[in-house]
């Protein structure tokens, strides 16, 4: 079935004619160009499928997204501010064994990071023991002095976490980034699955994919567990910045899934350190806020004074223990990209365990020797601002111009604490439908971790795809798309053909 061309590069039959093998790990093909065991069924179905069918299915999926209004908002665009997020029909498949490692690794990581947050806002043992430098923590943009000594339910700071994983060329998963503030994307994970089940029912059915539909209930249970004690039937709301936020669709979607009220800052008020929402039936006391607003905008009296998105007095109500927030205020310290470099140390310090999921090698630019090395190798490395997310504030060395590198060089020299550097990773690739052909594109994986009384991870996540050929940037705001992610039940066996 696989014939080698004159160059020694195996050529695959259509629709895989444009599927070159590269140096990056390929999710579908092994190093010899043969489909991996768990991709065989999909591979053979695609070989047999006429080109039109593939096209029609992709069209049907796109229409489903548009009709259901599964959209995201693009900033700085006046009319039609809502777009559908490009969806690729072919699933990204993860075996049960692989998932087991991911699940254990993420549980370990969130447990340790949570202990870290509790420690730095209370006893500061890790700082006194000089494991993590005190100045590094205090200089984090998202460190919140206001949280010193505040006790929160179950000491759980991170209720919802979306960790970005990448697969290294050797096939191992590594953590690229922790998102501990207001991670988004879970609605796309759920919507992708719904559309997938409608467009590829027989393929889906034949695979034995673990379900993810219970995410809404799991999130609700997590929030209930973290509500203040002594309130028998806690009232939970989702706080959104409003319709102009890029993730508004997701906020509305999750509120509906959980059957809780979707509120904006102007719907809430604080009186005597108690938070109320204004309803037609009068004021209703609120016990738990799943907030999708950054710390900075949460309370104009405590943080950004000119923000109208938040609720004046919310911080005091929170400190008084009359309302709980998920995530807690100040979790951004632990996803600062300079702290990230210490996470393996943090895991060892609190849990006395070996990190299950490795970090990506990271250069701290505050260290003179490391900075020197990075400045000499700007064209090979990725430079990232420590407090940014969403693919902003980033330089990808091999794809940058000399002018861009100069800008970053001067910024790094001016403020080394604000940047870190990492090697340019060859993210793993997965098959995607591009112009009715199947081509490989780079992908990452964002599983969603819930931490209430215990850790829950629904088997799956958001697989983001860099749809531009050769691109390594998967963010929705930067031309990325997404795929459904299948986690298979049990071990993989050879599939009948």
């Amino acid at each position: 079935m696989i014939v080698s061309d004159a160059m020694g590069q195996p050529t695959l039959p259509p629709p895989f004619s444009n599927y070159p093998l590269g140096t990056a790990f390929d999710e579908m093909l092994d190093f010899d160009g043969r489909p991996r065991l768990h991709y065989q069924e999909l591979y053979h179905r695609l070989l047999e499928m006429p080109a039109e069918t593939l096209y029609q299915r992709q069209q049907a999926a796109n229409t489903a997204f548009l009709n259901e209004g599964i959209t995201f908002t693009v900033y700085g665009d006046d009319e039609g501010t809502e777009r559908i997020w490009p969806y690729d029909l072919l699933p990204r498949i993860i075996t049960g064994e692989e998932w087991e490692t991911i699940e254990k690794g993420l549980t370990q990581r969130i447990t340790a990071l949570n202990l870290f947050l509790k420690d730095i806002y209370n006893d500061e043992r890790i700082l006194s023991d000089r494991i993590v430098p005190r100045w590094l923590v205090y200089s984090c943009r998202h460190f919140r002095r206001e949280m010193r000594g505040v006790r929160i339910p179950h000491d759980t700071y991170i209720a919802v976490d979306g960790t970005d994983l990448v697969r290294l060329p050797d096939g191992r998963f590594a953590v690229l980034e922790d998102n501990l503030r207001v991670p988004s994307g879970v609605s796309y994970m759920l919507a992708n699955r719904q559309v997938m089940k409608r467009t590829f029912p027989s393929l889906f059915g034949s695979y034995g994919v673990r379900p993810i539909d219970h995410f809404g209930q799991a999130l609700l249970r997590t929030l209930l567990a973290l509500a203040p004690a002594g309130r028998p039937e806690p009232v939970i709301v989702l706080l959104t910045p409003g319709v102009y936020n890029s993730a508004y669709f997701e906020h509305a979607f999750l509120a509906r899934q959980m059957g809780i009220e979707l509120v904006e800052g102007r719907d809430l008020l604080v009186h005597d350190n108690i938070v109320y929402m204004r309803t037609t039936a009068g004021l209703r006391r609120i016990d738990m806020i799943y907030r999708r607003i950054d710390d900075d905008y949460l309370d104009p009296l405590a943080f950004q004074p000119d923000s109208t998105l938040g609720v004046p007095g919310l911080l005091n109500a929170y400190r008084a223990g009359n309302v709980a927030l998920a995530n807690a205020i100040g979790t951004g310290v632990a996803d600062d990209k300079a702290i990230y470099a210490y996470v393996p140390t943090i895991i060892r310090y609190y849990l006395d365990e070996k990190p299950i999921l490795p970090n990506v090698e990271t250069y701290l630019l505050t260290d003179k020797a490391q900075r020197q090395y990075v400045l000499e190798h700007l064209d090979e490395l990725v430079i990232k601002a420590v407090g940014e997310a969403g693919g902003y504030g980033m330089l990808i060395g091999p794809y940058s111009t000399a002018a861009q590198r100069e800008v970053f060089r001067s910024q790094v020299i001016a403020n080394p604490r604000n940047y870190i550097a990492q090697p340019t990773l060859a993210l793993s690739r997965a098959p995607c439908i591009i112009d009715n052909q199947i081509e490989p594109r780079h992908v990452d994986l964002r599983p969603f971790v819930l931490f209430g009384e215990h850790v829950t991870i629904v088997p799956g996540g958001l697989t983001r795809v860099a749809l531009r050929r050769g691109s390594l940037v998967v963010n929705s705001s930067q031309g990325g798309g997404s795929k459904d992610t299948w986690v298979l039940v049990g071990p993989t066996a050879a599939v009948d053909q």
Partner: protein
């Protein structure tokens, strides 16, 4: 339901009712002009502006300038384009509370208005455009009734629609009666300005319904009776108030409100006046004052609604109900 959501639904509905009313008024007026080549058309347009409680456009007051101002002028908050844009903006704020069908219909309507220019409309066929505005809004109302659950939010939509209708109809009647009745000698013959009276009925989409009750004999007293006091005609003020009362009662019941007393008293009083007055009493008294008082009472119902459900003072809520909830 969140007060903000109720507020948005209420205004979405009011704006659409206003857009529909304006579209119909312009359409009728343009149509009438075909028959009235001789008369003082400027005066008629003035009356139309007066009945919509909106100032005249700058420069000449004629068919083109008024139609332009009332249809497409985005700086004028009462123009059809502004009303539809405001309705859509309100719907957008509560998109997850309305059905997708409603949103799609409203969005389509918005895009249609946005994509049409005054020149296109005027030189093609104004009637076609204005008529499609009306129809699209009827369609939206139908979709609302058919796809949205008939709970609290739906009742707020109905309050908005009928409050706007009652106020607008009262203002329209007032404009016509104060302009025309003064010229009338109340004998049994045909009124002087037969076409204007038919225009009034048509402006309320009520000509056919009127004929079924009174035959085609046009008498101002009958017209006043029909548009004010008829219990079955969907455009009469009495009908609108009855619907409004039903919706307000349903809201109070749905949330077992304890402070809905004021707004229920206000609508009850207005309703009783329309239920039990006879047209002779109204006409022999001060018709203008009566129509003004209806508009005043509608404004009071609006503020009563706000006080009870939307912008109530926090102190009151904390003592009377907040404590009970906490």
């Amino acid at each position: 339901m969140l007060s903000r959501v109720a507020d948005s639904l209420y205004w979405m509905s009011r704006y659409l009712e206003q857009a529909e009313h304006t579209a119909r008024l312009i359409d009728v007026q343009l149509n009438q002009m075909l028959d009235q080549a001789g008369g003082d058309t400027s005066l008629r347009w003035q009356r139309l502006l007066h009945s919509l409680r909106t100032p005249p456009p700058e420069g000449d007051v004629d068919a083109y300038s008024v139609t332009q101002a009332l249809t497409f002028d985005e700086s004028r908050t009462s123009s059809i384009a502004s009303c539809i844009a405001s309705a859509r903006e309100n719907a957008r704020q509560v998109r997850e509370q309305i059905s997708s069908e409603m949103w799609e219909q409203l969005n389509r309507l918005f895009l249609q208005v946005k994509g049409t220019s005054m020149e296109q409309m005027w030189f093609a066929e104004p009637h076609k455009f204005l008529n499609s505005m009306k129809e699209e809004i009827y369609l939206f109302q139908g979709i609302t009734d058919a796809t949205m659950s008939h709970s609290e939010g739906w009742h707020f939509i109905r309050v908005g629609r009928f409050l706007e209708r009652a106020t607008a109809t009262a203002a329209l009647l007032d404009a016509h009666f104060s302009a025309l009745l003064t010229e009338q000698t109340e004998d049994e013959s045909e009124p002087l300005d037969y076409l204007s009276w038919i225009g009034l009925l048509r402006s309320c989409a009520s000509f056919e319904a009127y004929c079924k009750v009174y035959t085609a004999v046009i008498r101002p007293a009958h017209i006043a009776e029909f548009l004010l006091l008829n219990a079955e005609a969907p455009r009469s003020i009495r009908f609108a108030c009855a619907m409004m009362q039903g919706a307000l009662q349903a809201i109070a019941k749905a949330i077992s409100a304890r402070n809905s007393g004021r707004v229920e008293r206000l609508i009850g009083r207005l309703r009783a006046s329309l239920d039990y007055y006879q047209i002779e009493e109204i006409l022999s008294g001060d018709m203008h004052e009566y129509l003004e008082s209806i508009q005043r009472q509608c404004a009071l119902i609006h503020s009563g609604l706000y006080q009870a459900y939307i912008a109530y003072p926090i102190e009151v809520a904390l003592t009377s109900r907040g404590a009970a909830q906490a």
